[in-house]
């Protein structure tokens, strides 16, 4: 399911399946997208932040077009204890690879991969990013 912002419209609450993973997409070329994500985060239940929230930052292939500072992204990662993935969705190869990654992460968050919980996996992701 894709939404441009949160909260999701309440009319469809009863039809909605369980949400296992929330990926916030930030376009590094648009300050507006960062603001949108920051505003939407307020509507997320605290339980999701135990490994079911990821930030996906796109546009990193174009360093000369960036409108957002990397520190702002790091601050998001620190404040919400959630991993950040970097990609360039405008490149087809990267788009496919990113989709595959996200699917794998979704499988883990939905509890479909034995031996990995959403929380343990996100800790793995964060620790390796900090090295």
């Amino acid at each position: 399911h894709i939404a441009t912002s949160l909260p999701l419209p309440s009319e469809r609450d009863h039809l909605r399946p369980r949400i296992d993973l929330i990926v916030f997409v930030i376009d590094i070329k648009s300050k507006c997208s960062l603001k949108n994500v920051e505003d939407s985060l307020a509507y997320v239940d605290a339980n999701f932040f135990l490994g079911k929230v990821y930030f996906l930052v796109t546009g990193v292939g174009r360093v000369n077009c960036c409108s957002i500072e990397i520190n702002a992204i790091s601050k998001l990662r620190e404040t919400y204890c959630s991993p950040v993935l970097f990609c360039e969705l405008e490149l087809e190869g990267v788009r496919v690879a990113t989709a595959q990654r996200l699917l794998r992460i979704l499988q883990i968050c939905a509890g479909l991969v034995p031996g990995f919980s959403a929380l343990s996996f996100s800790l793995l992701m964060r620790n390796s990013a900090d090295d």
Partner: protein, 288 residues
């Protein structure tokens, strides 16, 4: 040190294309005349090959290299090196003035980050400004790259850095009536390209910045963000357009104007050094 203001004035009010340059190997300030001769010969050779030729013009191209000692920040900075290609048309008389075809300037203003741990044989002049036909830039650039084992790269300026420049320059005091501060935005993903120009009275812009900046002489990322957000929300209130979703491509203030393709125009001699210091920093971060 007060240098000859006339010499640095030649940097003002021209559109300069920016490049970053890696350190030059075995560049010797004392050999500028030799270099000028070698570069002149190289240009002549290239023109024989049919490169760097302006159609239909018969020209003798003279090359001059000189030092601009005024363009220096700290003691460690190398003084700027100016390269000028001038011509005298063969048809005109001996007394006519040379016309400057192309100018290039290597400089380094407070480039300590780069020059700190540099081995002796290397000269750090990370910022290059070029004005004139691209064909001359190409030839001159090739010669320097071959002779001093360095690399020239176009220096682009991100919207993020452009907004820093706006914040830094809007607070600068200028004596005469300043021109309007202008921001140009390009709207992405439209079938027809659309540019939005947002002009603000310089006094209003200064007043806004003065309410935001807490410590004079210091600017924080947060202050820059608040400043830009104020401008964006003002625009949104009136036009219902979110400028923060567009790309900031050009800024113009009374001090200088800058385009994201890496083209700047410096307008005020008093702040020339400050602008060059900022550009030096950008060049260094592209090199490293």
């Amino acid at each position: 040190e007060s240098g000859d203001p006339q010499r640095t004035a030649l940097l003002l009010r021209k559109a300069w294309t920016l490049y970053s340059v890696t350190p030059l190997y075995r560049f010797c300030r004392g050999r500028l005349r030799d270099y000028a001769r070698l570069l002149s010969a190289f240009i002549a050779a290239e023109r024989q090959k049919g490169l760097a030729v302006e159609v239909g013009v018969e020209l003798d191209i003279k090359v001059a290299l000189s030092i601009l000692p005024e363009l220096q920040g700290s003691e460690q900075d190398q003084p700027a090196v100016l390269v000028q290609l001038s011509s005298r048309s063969r048809a005109s008389s001996k007394n006519s003035e040379d016309k400057i075809l192309w100018s290039g300037c290597f400089c380094c203003v407070y480039g300590d980050d780069l020059s700190e741990n540099m081995p002796e044989d290397f000269t750090c002049l990370p910022l290059f400004l070029a004005n004139g036909a691209e064909s001359y830039m190409s030839v001159v650039g090739n010669w320097f790259q071959k002779t001093f084992d360095c690399i020239f790269r176009r220096l682009a300026i991100s919207p993020f850095n452009l907004s820093w420049m706006v914040a830094m320059w809007v607070g600068c005091k200028v004596d005469k009536a300043a021109s309007a501060m202008e921001l140009v935005f390009s709207v992405p993903r439209l079938p027809q390209p659309l540019d939005i120009s947002y002009a603000i009275h310089p006094e209003d812009a200064r007043a806004l910045w003065d309410t935001i900046q807490k410590t004079p002489g210091e600017i924080t990322q947060e202050e820059v963000d608040v400043f830009m957000d104020c401008l964006y929300s003002h625009f949104h209130r009136h036009f219902k357009i979110r400028l923060s979703a567009t790309k900031l491509v050009k800024i113009s203030t009374a001090i200088a104007s800058a385009h994201c393709d890496g083209i700047v125009k410096m307008l005020h001699s008093q702040y020339l050094s400050g602008v060059l210091m900022l550009l030096t920093e950008l060049a260094i971060s592209q090199i490293q």
